[in-house]
């Protein structure tokens, strides 16, 4: 009977408040973290773009812009899962290229093939993700190397099969997924299908990160050893993350067929753009920190930045330079902000402790695979 006493004592105590601060206080605190600051960045960039180019203030233009951004945002969502678990997925661009070429050659002008080929593409995406995941977890090869190998192998295969040139042309109804939208909507005129896909996937992603899967994935990225001794199955968690990443690249590929056409170079550099977007969204390389929707917002911020540069009349060749400066600055600031955010109540000798924490958790690329 002695075991019931602590239970009794606990019930007598007043329950702890669910949150320390009010709703607005928490929202403000969230905006101060790198994951929230990206939304402020998006709004600031949007205002700046509208000031530079008043046409951009039209809701129809903004919604079309968001439609164009959808594939990279979807890719960023997928990359988020891999990065937050402490890994990298460099094979994304090759997957996009492979899917685009598959769609172009297998569907052709035959509309009846759209459904089976789409299913086949998704299956190929799952297969690539499983290979990446098992290579990382079972073989114990750093994910940087596994996905680099996949990128070389898959990219080489696609180039070999197509001869490096554009081949095939899928049916127009398939391209509508990327091109079209719901017409005659009040205010915004048109809602592009890619934006709807992005919204659905974003909601799914946000939901999944609140599920045990998402929580364990972040835990595995933060401290793989602790996650494993708490009963998480690291290999299965990470393999699922890689599968999600490849699937998101597949979806991005399906959308890109719509307006980029069929060419083996379509996905080129997608992995680095996606990683940039994720990092811009405040997600920490090495895992364990960051929010999934912020990753998508990071993609929007990146594309908005390019629109702003164009509106300001900056030569397109300088884009890369600005992109480079931005990501370095974003990560430098974010690294500090996350560290500060973790210890909100710490007072006194703050400079000494914060500088220690800064050097404390240097993420190591693609090697935090726990015991693997």
């Amino acid at each position: 009977m002695t075991t019931s006493t602590p239970l009794l004592e606990r019930t007598e105590r007043a329950p702890l408040p669910e949150h320390h601060r009010s709703w607005t206080g928490r929202a403000a605190a969230a905006l101060a973290t790198p994951g929230g600051a990206v939304y402020v960045l998006v709004v600031a960039l949007l205002v700046a773009t509208v000031l530079a180019n008043p046409n951009f203030g039209d809701p129809g233009v903004v919604i079309r812009f968001l439609g164009r951004t959808a594939p990279i945002a979807i890719a960023a969502i997928g990359q988020y899962y891999v990065i937050v678990s402490g890994e990298f997925d460099l094979s994304m661009g090759a997957v996009v290229a492979a899917q685009v070429v598959m769609a172009g050659n297998l569907i052709g002008e035959d509309e009846s093939r759209i459904l089976p080929v789409t299913l086949l593409m998704l299956a190929v995406g799952v297969l690539i993700g499983v290979l990446n995941g098992l290579g990382t977890t079972l073989l114990g090869v750093p994910s940087f190397i596994v996905t680099l190998g996949m990128m070389l192998a898959l990219g080489g295969l696609v180039d070999h099969l197509t001869g490096g040139a554009a081949t095939g042309n899928p049916a127009d109804s398939f391209r509508e997924i990327g091109r079209g939208g719901i017409e005659d909507v009040p205010v915004v005129d048109v809602i592009p299908y890619p934006l709807i896909i992005l919204a659905v996937l974003g909601a799914l992603a946000s939901w999944s990160m609140r599920r045990p899967f998402g929580r364990s994935l972040v835990a595995a990225g933060d401290n793989p050893d602790a996650a494993r001794v708490s009963g998480s199955s690291l290999w299965w968690l990470k393999t699922r993350a890689f599968v999600i990443s490849s699937l998101s690249a597949t979806v991005a590929g399906i959308i890109l067929v719509g307006y980029a056409g069929v060419h083996p170079s379509v996905g080129q550099g997608y992995e680095f753009t996606a990683i940039t977007a994720v990092v811009l969204g405040g997600v920490v390389l090495g895992g364990g920190r960051g929010w999934v929707l912020s990753a998508a917002a990071g993609a929007v911020a990146l594309e908005l930045l390019f629109v702003l540069l164009t509106a300001l009349g900056v030569e397109s060749t300088w884009r890369a330079t600005v992109q480079g400066l931005i990501i370095i600055a974003a990560v430098a600031v974010a690294g500090r902000a996350w560290q500060r955010g973790r210890r909100p109540r710490r007072t006194g000798s703050s400079s000494a402790t914060s500088s220690r924490h800064l050097t404390h958790h240097q993420p190591t690329p693609g090697t935090t695979t726990g015991d693997n």
Binding site: G140, I145, M150, A153, A320, L325, H360
Partner: protein
Amino acid sequence: MSALTRRTTPLTSTGIVLVLLAVSLVAGFVLTAVEGRNFLSSGNISALLTGISILGFIAIGQTLVILVGSLDLSVPYVVSLVSVLAAGTMAGQDGNVLPAVALALLVAAAVGLVNGAIVAYLGVHGFIATLGTGLVISGYLATNYQGSHGSAPRSFRLVGATQVGPVPLSTLILLGCAVLVVLMLRRTRVGHHLYAVGGNREVARLSGIRTSVPVLVAHTLSSVLAALAGLLLVARLSVGSPTIGSQGDYDLMSIAAVVLGGTLLAGGKGNVVGTLAGVAIFSVLDNVMGVMGVSAFLQDVVRGLVIVVAVAVYARREIDRRPARFERPTGLDAALQEAK
């Protein structure tokens, strides 16, 4: 006693890489013989060594950066930048060679120093820091240079063309650099600190090591060695090109060579000899596939597979050698552990 330890720890990672290199050499010999050519002809040996040198320079630098726990993705852009700067400064005049080389090395050292400073002082991950500086340089190159640029004088082109027996001069320079870097890693304070910081930066710091110095040194040397590769490309092609680096995929291929050479991607463990063996394996692969007439695209497929499989061979060993843990894995995890 030494016999006992030798029995319990049979082969180091470097040993495995050298065995892999030997296997690939034998396979290359056999496959080339099947095609009716001589793998060991002096022409082919010099082609093999020539194939090693460019990636070799970059991979040695990349080894240093990876050892210290960082990454260098900016190397292809440094190579391109150096190639246009050097070729532009030379402008076909013999007298301009020395200033051009000095300028190239200085600019590269500055880029490396910036990389190192961002990693060491701003606390930005090397992946992002060097991706960022690489993008900055690529924007500069794309804006200011279109197509090939400048030209190298005959005296400088000789560096790329001279051979000592079957061994190209560039390979000798590469070996010289490798020896210097090995000496630095083994015999100097900064070399030892480099391993310490790469192994565990916090422990190194608590042991009284100024952790920023090895990071700065590694990044600077990486960029300078990339500049040597860029200069060598100018000597071979006699013009500078703003896209020569990114065409070669030198960032990812050098990282692959380093990891293939047994260096831990997390840093703190590895050596230059393994890296050179890794580069040599790539060179043998390219050479053999070239002789067999495999298409350039399929060569990428083979490379990708070889990288993953080779690294898997000793990635497993690294796990085995770790000390036993105190938990009992359950279910599928246990099965997977046993499968290893």
